[in-house]
Symmetry: D2
Subunit: 368 residues, 4 copies
C-alpha cells in the first residue's frame, strides 16, 4: 500500500525531483547551419535532483510482458537499489521473488501516486500509456519511459532490448522529453453542476491523453450534439458521435473517423464527427487556447456515452454537457534522442501514411 511508503519520499513532494529544460546556451549552434540543417536542435531536460520513486506499469495477463518486467526488476535491483519501486497489484503477484522491494499501489491510492512518483516505466502497448495517463487523470503526471515488446508503438519509443541503456540515460539525464498535451474535461449537468462519473476527477477535471468522445453506443438512433467554441455555437452534430482529440490522439479514434494527422507538438484540438449525417462536416482544428463544450441537444432521442481515451465514464442526457480545454498537466514522455522526431518515423512505419502504390510511374507511349 502506498501509504506505507517511507515518509521521506512523501514529505519531499514539494521538492520532488523534476525534469526541467536545459538552458539554450548549453546547445549552441552556429547560425550558419540555419536554413538546411538536418533537424531541429533536440531540447534536452535534466533532473533537479535524482529520481527516487519509480512506478513500474505493465500490460496484465501477458507472459512476455511479465518476463520483461522481471528483467527490469532484476536490473534495477542491481544498478539502482536505492529506488523505491511502486507497482500495481497484478505486477506484485507476478513477481513474488521481488515482493520485499515492491510497494503495491491499490485502487484509491491515485492521489498519493501523483505526489510520490518521480518517474513511470511502462512495458506493453499504447494502451499501457493510456492507463498511466488514467492513473494520473486527476493532475500532474511524472515523466514516462515506455518500452514496447515487439514493433514500436505510437507512444512507445523504446524497444525492450534497449532496456539497460534507456533506463540509465533516463535515471541520470539529460533526457529528450516530448510534452504530450492532455485535455482537461468536466461533465456538467443542465444546471452547470459537476456530474458524477467513474474514474479520477481532479481540481482541473479529468486529464485525457487521446480524446473525449460522445457516442450513441448501444442506442440505435443518431445522437444530436451541440458544439460550442468559447461558448459560441459552432455546429450541431447529428451523428453516431463526436470527439475532441489532442494532437497525440489524432492517430487514434479521430483518424478512424476521417480526421487529419497532427504532429504531437501542435498547439491545437481536433473536433471530429463520427459518421455524421451530413456531407459537409469535416474535422475542425481549434487553437489550444480555447475551450469547447459539447452538449446533448434536447432534440436527441437518446442519451450519449461519454468516454475518455476509450473508457466509458458516464452517460449524458439532453442538456447535459462536457466542457473541455487544454490541461495544465501534459505528459512528459521520454523520447529517443537521436535522429529527428519519432513521430515522422511512426506515421510512416506504423500508420503506413501515404504508402506509395507499387506500380508507380510508367513511361509514356506514343505511336510515332
Amino acid at each position: 500500500m502506498l501509504h506505507i511508503l517511507p515518509l521521506a519520499t512523501r514529505r519531499k513532494a514539494p521538492t520532488k525531483p523534476r525534469l526541467v529544460q536545459c538552458e539554450e546556451g548549453q546547445h549552441a549552434e552556429s547560425s550558419a547551419m540555419a536554413m538546411k540543417r538536418a533537424s531541429p536542435p533536440q531540447k534536452l531536460s535534466r533532473w533537479t535532483s535524482p529520481p527516487r520513486t519509480v512506478l513500474l506499469v505493465q500490460k496484465p495477463d501477458d507472459e512476455r510482458t511479465t518476463q520483461a518486467m522481471g528483467l527490469v526488476l532484476s536490473h534495477l535491483a542491481k544498478t539502482a537499489p536505492h529506488l523505491n519501486l511502486l507497482v500495481e497489484p497484478h505486477t506484485a503477484r507476478d513477481h513474488p521473488s521481488h515482493a520485499d522491494k515492491l510497494t503495491v499501489v491499490e485502487q484509491g491510492d491515485e492521489p498519493l501516486l501523483e505526489r510520490c512518483t518521480d518517474l513511470v516505466v511502462t512495458i506493453g502497448g499504447d494502451g499501457t500509456i493510456l492507463h498511466v495517463s488514467h492513473l494520473f487523470a486527476g493532475g500532474e503526471c511524472p515523466a514516462v519511459l515506455s518500452f514496447s515488446m515487439g514493433t514500436l508503438g505510437f507512444l512507445l519509443p523504446f524497444h525492450i532490448d534497449t532496456l539497460a541503456p534507456a533506463l540509465e540515460m533516463t535515471l541520470n539525464g539529460p533526457v529528450s522529453i516530448l510534452q504530450r498535451m492532455r485535455l482537461a474535461c468536466t461533465p456538467l449537468s443542465a444546471d452547470g453542476e459537476v456530474l458524477p462519473c467513474t474514474g479520477i476527477v481532479g481540481q482541473a477535471g479529468i486529464q485525457v491523453m487521446n480524446e473525449v468522445t460522445l457516442h450513441r453506443g448501444q442506442h440505435p438512433h443518431l445522437t444530436v450534439i451541440d458544439a460550442y467554441f468559447d461558448e459560441q455555437h459552432l455546429t450541431e452534430a447529428v451523428a453516431d458521435g463526436l470527439l475532441l482529440s489532442t494532437p497525440t490522439g489524432s492517430t487514434a479514434y479521430s483518424l478512424s473517423a476521417g480526421g487529419p494527422i497532427s504532429h504531437p507538438e501542435t498547439d491545437a484540438f481536433l473536433l471530429t464527427p463520427i459518421a455524421p449525417r451530413s456531407l459537409s462536416f469535416r474535422t475542425v482544428v481549434l487553437p489550444g487556447r480555447g475551450s469547447v463544450r459539447l452538449e446533448i441537444s434536447t432534440s436527441s432521442r437518446s442519451p450519449a456515452e461519454l468516454s475518455i481515451d476509450g473508457r466509458q465514464i458516464c452517460h449524458l442526457r439532453p442538456k447535459e454537457s462536457v466542457v473541455i480545454s487544454k490541461s495544465p498537466y501534459p505528459i512528459p514522455c521520454v523520447e529517443r534522442s537521436e535522429g529527428g522526431t519519432g513521430w515522422v518515423r511512426d506515421i510512416n512505419s506504423l500508420l503506413q501514411f501515404n504508402t506509395g502504390f507499387r506500380n508507380k510511374s510508367l513511361m509514356g507511349h506514343s505511336i510515332a
Copy 2:
C-alpha cells in the same frame, strides 16, 4: 504499312476470329455448392476460328521491354510461324532481325487496325494498355493479353516469365476474359456540332478506358462545369476539374481525387470532382445505362482542357460540352484463370487497400 497486309486477312474482316463465351452447360456446377463455394465459376471464352493476326505493342525506349519483345518474337517465330505480326514503327526499329516477318502499323492506319487485328499482346505498364485502347479508340478492340516486366500492374495480369504458357493458352483457348467497360465520348460545340480534336473519333465517338477529364490545366482560376445526367441538371462543379470514370478507371485518377474503388464488372460510372470548392461534393455513382454531359459554364473564367485517359485532346470553352455514355466497345482483357478475380488481389497488393496498422489490438488494462 498496314495496307500491304495480305488481302486474305483484310477481306476476312467480317468473319474474323473472335472470342465468344462458352455455353453454360460446359461448366455445370452442383447447386449444392451454392452458398459457400470458393469463387464464382470462371466464365471462359473460345475462339470462333484460330487468331491469325496479332498486334504486338511495347513500351518505347525501355531496354528491358525491348529484350522481352525479342523473346516474344522468337517464340512466335518458332511456335506460330503462320501468324501475321503487326508492330508499331519503334518496335520494328528495335528488332531489325525480325524485319521480314513484321508488318508496320503507321499513324493513320488505325481504321485498318480494327478490321485486321485478332489479338493484341502488350509488354509494358498500365499505360501500354491505355495506348492500345487509344489505337482502337474509334471502335471495336480485339482481345488484349498483357505482360508486365516486374510487379504485376493493375491492368497487367501476366508476368513476362509466363510468356510461353500464356501465349499458348491465349492462342488456343479457352481463355478467361474480363470485358472492361469503356466510355464513348464526343465533344460538342454550343450548337451541338462535333468539335475537332486530336486522336481517333469513330461513329460512336472516342472510346475511353479510364476516364474523361475536364481540368483547368494551366489556368490559375477555378473552372465551372455543369453536369447533366440524362439531360437533367445534376450539379455545378466549381473546381480544378471534373471527371467521369469507368469502373476500371476507379483506381486511376478518380481514386486520387477521392473516389471509391469499384470492381471492374460493375455496370456504373463514377462522377468525381477534382479539388472542388465545396464541402459536400462526393463521388456520384451512376448506372451504366445513362448518359452524362459536362458543359463549361458561361460563368467559368477560363476554358478547360478535355483529356481522355490522360491525353489532352482539345479545349472546351463556355457552352461547349462533352457527351459521354457507355461504349458499345469494351476491351476484352485476357485474365489468369486460376484463383478468383485478379482485382481482389490487385487492390490489396498494388493499391495497399485498407492496409492494417502495425500495432493493432493490444489487450486492455485495469488497476484492480
Copy 3:
C-alpha cells in the same frame, strides 16, 4: 385479423393484380431526339387487373399523420368503396369511425400480408417505408405509394396535398415505378447453420432496403470483420463497424460513414467501413451479381451487433457471419411521372449535395 379477409382475395393470390411494364412500342420516340433529349423516356407500368387490397401504413403517435390518414380513409370510402383496406392495430385504434371497413393486421400476419396485399400506401417519413420493407422482409413486396407530411423525404415522392390525384393515378395506372433493389441476408453460425434472430426471415433470407450493418455497439473495443466477395477474401476491417448498402441506402448510413452517393438504379452494392483504423479503407463498389460475406474474426475481442435498416436483429460472435446478395424482391416504388428522376432533385434539395459557397468567383486583381 388478416385471416378473416374474404376468401376471394386470398385465393386469388396466384393471379393477384400486379404492375407490369408497358411495352416499348407504346412509347415510341423519334430516334432523331437521341443525343440531346430532355430526359430518358419514363418507363410506365400498368395493372394486370385492378388492385383490390390496399395496406395503409402511418407513422404512429403523430397527430398530423393521423389526420392525414383520416383524409385517405374518407377519400377511399367515397371513391373506391370496393377496396379491402388493411391497417396496423394502432391505425385502427386511431380511426374508430372507420372500424367496420378496416381489416387489422396483427403481429404474425406478415406471411399472409405478402399474399394479400396489392398496394401499400404510407404516410410518414423515410422510416415508414423502411417499416413497410420490414413487414415484407420475408419475400415479395407490393407497390408502395408514399406521402410525406411536409418536406419531401428521400423515399417520399408525393406530398399529402396531392392525395386525390396521386391515389387515382396509382389505382388506375399507368404509373411510373422505380424498382428499388433490396439485399437478401442470412446470419450463419460457424457451421453454416442459419442463426435465430428477431424479425421475419423468408426462404431467401431477410430482405433489406438500406443496408446490413455490423457494429461494435456498446462494446468499447474495435470489431474485427473479414469481408469476402464471392468467397474470395477481400479485406479485414478493424473498425467501429462495416456495412453493405443498396444504392437506395447510399444516402443513409453509408453516406454518414463517408461513402459515395449512388443513383438508385445502379446495379451495385457499397461496402463502407464505419470509423476504420486505417488510412486506406475507402468504400468499395461491387457488382450486383456477386455475393458478400461478413464474418467476425477470431481476433475480434467482442461480438458485433447485426442490424438491418437500423434494427438490431442479433449478435454475431467470432466465426459467425452474415451472407448477403441481391434480393429477388425489390420494392416497386410509385414515382412522380413528370420531370426527370426525383433522385436528382432530392440529392440537391434534401442532401444539399455540392452546395456552392456563397462568396464564389471574384474577379482578378493586378496592380498595373
Copy 4:
C-alpha cells in the same frame, strides 16, 4: 508616385503609428464568469499615434466597387482631410475628381509602401485582401480594414453600408485585431541559392496569406515531390500537387483538396496533397514553430509550377525546392468587435459547414 510623398511621413517610418494590444487590466473580468461566459474577452488594440497614411485598394473594373470607393474618398475628404491617401493607378484613373488628394503607388513602389502605410482600406472580395498581402509580400503589412459589396466574404468582416462607423472606429481605435498568420517562403536551386521569381521577395522571403502550392499545371503527368519537416523526410507525394496552407488558407485551396477547416488563430500549418496517387495521404497538421521544404523529386517526369495565393511565381525542376516557415509578418485584420469571432459565423453562413439534411429525425415505427 510614392517617392513624392511628404518627407515627414517617410522619415517617421521608425516611429510610424502602430496598433498595439491594450493591457489586460483594461478589460478586467470577474473570475466568477469563467466557466460558461458568452465568449472570450475581445482583445483590443489602440494606435500608438494617429494613423496618417492610408492605402485605398479596390477590385479593378467593377462599377459598384468604384462607386463605393467614391463614397470612401468623399467621406475621408470631409472627416479626415489630414490623411495622406495612397491609391493604385487604376483607382486614381477611376476618381479624377479626387486626383489632387491622391498619391499614386506605381509598380516598383512596394518597398516604400511598407514604410509609409499606416492602414489599408480595401473594397472588393477575398482576392482584394490577397492582393494587399501581395503588395506587402516583402515584409511587414499594416492593419487592413476590408469592406465587401454584398455578401460578407471570408476575409471581409465589414459591409460597405457600415462605411462611416467602421472607418471612424478604425482610425480612432481601440479596434479588435485578428493577426492572420502568413507563411514566408523562398524558392531554392539545387545548390541552395535563391531562385529568381516574379513578385516581391524580401529579406524573409515572400510572405503568403493562404498557401504555397506546387502543381503539375499544364503537364499531363503526375509530379513527384519530397516533403521535409525540419529537414526530416516526411513523405513523397505523387500527385497533381501539394500545398502548405496557413489556418486562414484552410478554407481556400486546402479545403477543396480535402483538408480540414482551421480556426485562424491556430498556430499550425496544413500540408495537403492535391489528387495524390495514394489511398492514405491525409492532411498533416504541423506546428507553427517548424519549417517545411518541398523538393521536386528527381523521379518527377516534369517540372512543377510554384504558386503563392493562386499566383504562379516560377517553375521548379527536379532538385529545386521551396522552403517555408511561419512569417514574422502576419496581417493585422480589423474585425467587428461585437458577438464572438466572425470565423464561426463565416464557416456556417459562407461555407455551409455541416449543413443539416432537411428531412431529419423521424419518429420510430413498430407494428405492435
